[in-house]
């Protein structure tokens, strides 16, 4: 069995500490990926609505989460 498979089966040991930590790590990873992709989409001129549709959330949700202040850098881009 490979190391990864071994670790994966460890997760099956139902130890909540292991499982919950994995969930937290996965959530953080998803947050990073989402932020990166939303930023990229905005840079490419996608509207909030288009981004929201892809993520299957409301436009308001994605806007509230990612539309920051009107900063210096934003205008620079």
């Amino acid at each position: 069995m490979s190391d990864t498979a071994q670790l994966a089966s460890d997760a099956g040991s139902r130890d909540p500490a292991v499982g919950l930590r994995a969930v937290r790590a996965l959530r953080m990873l998803v947050d990073r990926l989402e932020a990166l992709q939303v930023e990229n989409a905005r840079e490419r001129g996608w509207s909030w609505q288009e981004i929201a549709s892809c993520l299957e959330v409301t436009r308001q949700a994605v806007h509230k989460k990612y539309a920051g202040g009107r900063g210096l850098l934003r205008r620079e881009r």
Binding site: D3, T4, A5, L7, A8, D10, A11, V18, G19, R21, A22, R24, A25, L26, M28, L29, D31, R32, L33, E34, A35, L36, V38, E39, N40, R42, K65, Y66, A67, G68, G69, R70, G71, L72, L73, R74, R75, E76
Partner: protein, 185 residues
Amino acid sequence: MFERFQSGARQAVVGAQENARRLNHTHVGTEHLLLGLLGRPENLSTRVLGRYGVDHGRVYRAVAEATAGRRGDDLDAGALETIGIDLSAIREKVEAAFGPGALDRAPRPREGRLFGGRHIPLTRRAKKVLELSLREAVHMRHGSIGDGHMLLGILREREGLAARVLTGANVDLALLRQDVVRELG
């Protein structure tokens, strides 16, 4: 004070913010100002530092190394592995598309920093560098502050990470200072 900054110096401050953000740092320090200066090939400071073998990539790596322990929220590769996710494989793909460190910038969407470019505060030393750059310009009887004056400010401040990184790259700060002064004419 900012109205006296020429575009090169202004852009360096903007670049400093971008670098701090990219490194996932919460403050803009002297090291980010140096990175901001080096981000623009047309800058006098980039040209002079290039003669000392110092460029953006080198400083960026040194800064990332020096501040490695600072990040509190690294992605948990071990935990992801327990559910069969290979973080290094994901990192590889993401960096191929978005560049080195892309996955390591923690999102701070609620504060609007990542996208809004909201101001990241300057450290005491970074503020000091800006003051000193003004002083250098005044002293040289130059009407405005260029990127070269900012580099002089960094060298004058002396104790920040920027100066330490330069010293670490075997740059003789006194000699560099002379060079910059000469170039500024």
